[in-house]
Symmetry: C2
Subunit: 210 residues, 2 copies
DNA sequence: CCTACCGATCGGTAGG
DNA sequence: CCTACCGATCGGTAGG
C-alpha cells in the first residue's frame, strides 16, 4: 500500500494514461523476465514504449516499483492459470503434468530468474512483498494439489518418505526450472509436453526401481 | 642511493605476486559466490584485499577474467570433492546422499547463482568455457554415478520411466539448488544431512506410493 | 602498486 | 491549474 495514489480525476486523459501504463508494464514484463532486473535499463523500457526515459517516472516512482508492479501482475496471472488446472476433475498426476506444461509453455519465462531478482536485486521491502506474493500465487495452488494427493492416499506424506505439501510445491518448481534451463542451451530431445510427462513421472515414481 | 625501495629479485617478486593473486581469487570467491557477478564491484574486491582498484588489472585483464579464473578453481575443487565420494564402495543411494551433503555443506555456496551469472552476465566466450567446465567437473561425476546405478539395474533408464544419466545429474543439482534456496529464507526444519536424506529418497523413490 | 583520472552510462529529477 | 510528457542534466558508479 503506497501512499502514492493521489488525485487521479476521472477524465479521458486518464484513459490514455492507463493505456500507457499498461504498455509499460507489458514491455517491462518481456524484458525483465527474459534478461533480469539489473540487465535491463529504464531507457530500454522507455525506448520500447516510444517514450522518453523520464516519462516512466510519471507512472512509476522508480525502477523497482515498476518491477514490483510487473511481477505482481505476472504472479496473479500465473495463479489464475494454475487454479484453472488444479480445479479440474482429473487425477493429481494428470493435473501436475498440465501444470508443468502450462508453466513451461504458456508463461514462456523462467520464474527462477524472477526469484533470483527478488533475492539478489531488490530492496528488503520489495523482497518481502514479492516473496509473499510468490507463496500465495504459485506455491499455494500447487501445495493444495499435493495436499489433495496426500489426503487421497496417493502421495506419501512427510512420515512416509515424502515431503510436506509446501516443500513438494517448491520441489515441483525446481523441476520446472530445470526444464526451462535445459531448453536454453540444449537442443530439445522432445516436445515440452513429453518432457513434462517424464519429469512428473520421475517426481512421483522416482528414478529407482521399486 | 635514495631511500627508494630497491628492485626485488625476480624470485621474491613473483612469489609475492602469486600470493596477491591468490588473495584476490579468494576474496573474489567469497564475494562473487555470495552476491553474484553484477552486484560485486571491482572496488569491493580490491578494498577487501587492501589494494587499489586499478591494481587488480595487473593480475587480471578485466572483471570477467577474474570471475572465470575464480569459477574454474571453484569447479575443479568441487570435482575433487565429488569424485572422492563417487569412488567410495557404497551404494549409489548412499553416495548420492553424501554428494548432496557435500554440495550443501562444504561448498556453502549455491552453484545456481554461478549458473545464473554464467548465463546472464558473462560474455558468450566465457559462458561457453564455463558451461563446459561445469559439465566436466559437476555433471560428469554425477552422471557416472547415475550410469552405474542404471547398469546395476537399480535405476530406471530412459526407456523405463527414468532419464538418461546426464539429465539425472542436472535434476539432482536442481534438488540441491532447492535445498540451498530454502535455507536462505526459511528456518531449517532439520539438519542439512537429514534434508539430504529426504531429498535423495524422493528423487529415487518418488512422491507417490507404488 | 598508487594517484589521478577517462568515456559511458546508470537511475532519477530539475524547470518549463 | 492540470496532464503528459521533453531536453537537459543531476549525483554516482561502472570498467578501465
Amino acid at each position: 500500500m503506497s501512499g502514492r495514489q493521489q488525485k487521479r480525476s476521472v477524465h479521458e486523459e486518464s484513459e490514455e494514461a492507463r493505456e500507457t501504463r499498461r504498455a509499460i508494464l507489458e514491455v517491462a514484463r518481456q524484458l525483465f523476465m527474459e534478461f533480469g532486473y539489473r540487465a535491463i535499463t529504464t531507457r530500454q523500457i522507455s525506448d520500447a514504449c516510444g517514450l522518453t526515459q523520464p516519462a516512466l517516472y510519471h507512472y512509476f516512482k522508480d525502477k523497482e516499483e515498476l518491477y514490483v508492479a510487473m511481477a505482481r501482475e505476472e504472479l496473479a496471472r500465473t495463479r489464475t492459470g494454475l487454479e484453472r488446472i488444479t480445479r479440474r476433475g482429473e487425477s493429481v498426476e494428470e493435473r501436475l503434468k498440465r501444470a508443468v506444461a502450462y508453466l513451461v509453455g504458456a508463461t514462456q519465462h523462467d520464474h527462477s530468474l524472477m526469484m533470483h531478482d527478488i533475492r539478489y536485486e531488490l530492496s528488503p521491502e520489495a523482497r518481502l512483498q514479492l516473496n509473499e506474493e510468490f507463496r500465495i500465487n504459485m506455491i499455494a495452488p500447487l501445495a493444495a494439489l499435493f495436499e489433495e494427493g496426500q489426503h487421497d492416499g496417493q502421495l506419501r506424506d512427510e512420515q512416509h518418505g515424502g515431503s510436506d505439501a509446501v516443500a513438494s510445491a517448491y520441489l515441483f518448481l525446481s523441476f520446472v526450472s530445470y526444464i526451462l534451463a535445459r531448453g536454453q542451451h540444449e537442443t530439445a530431445t522432445g516436445s515440452d509436453s513429453a518432457l513434462a510427462q517424464q519429469m512428473v513421472g520421475i517426481l512421483l515414481h522416482g528414478l529407482a526401481y521399486p
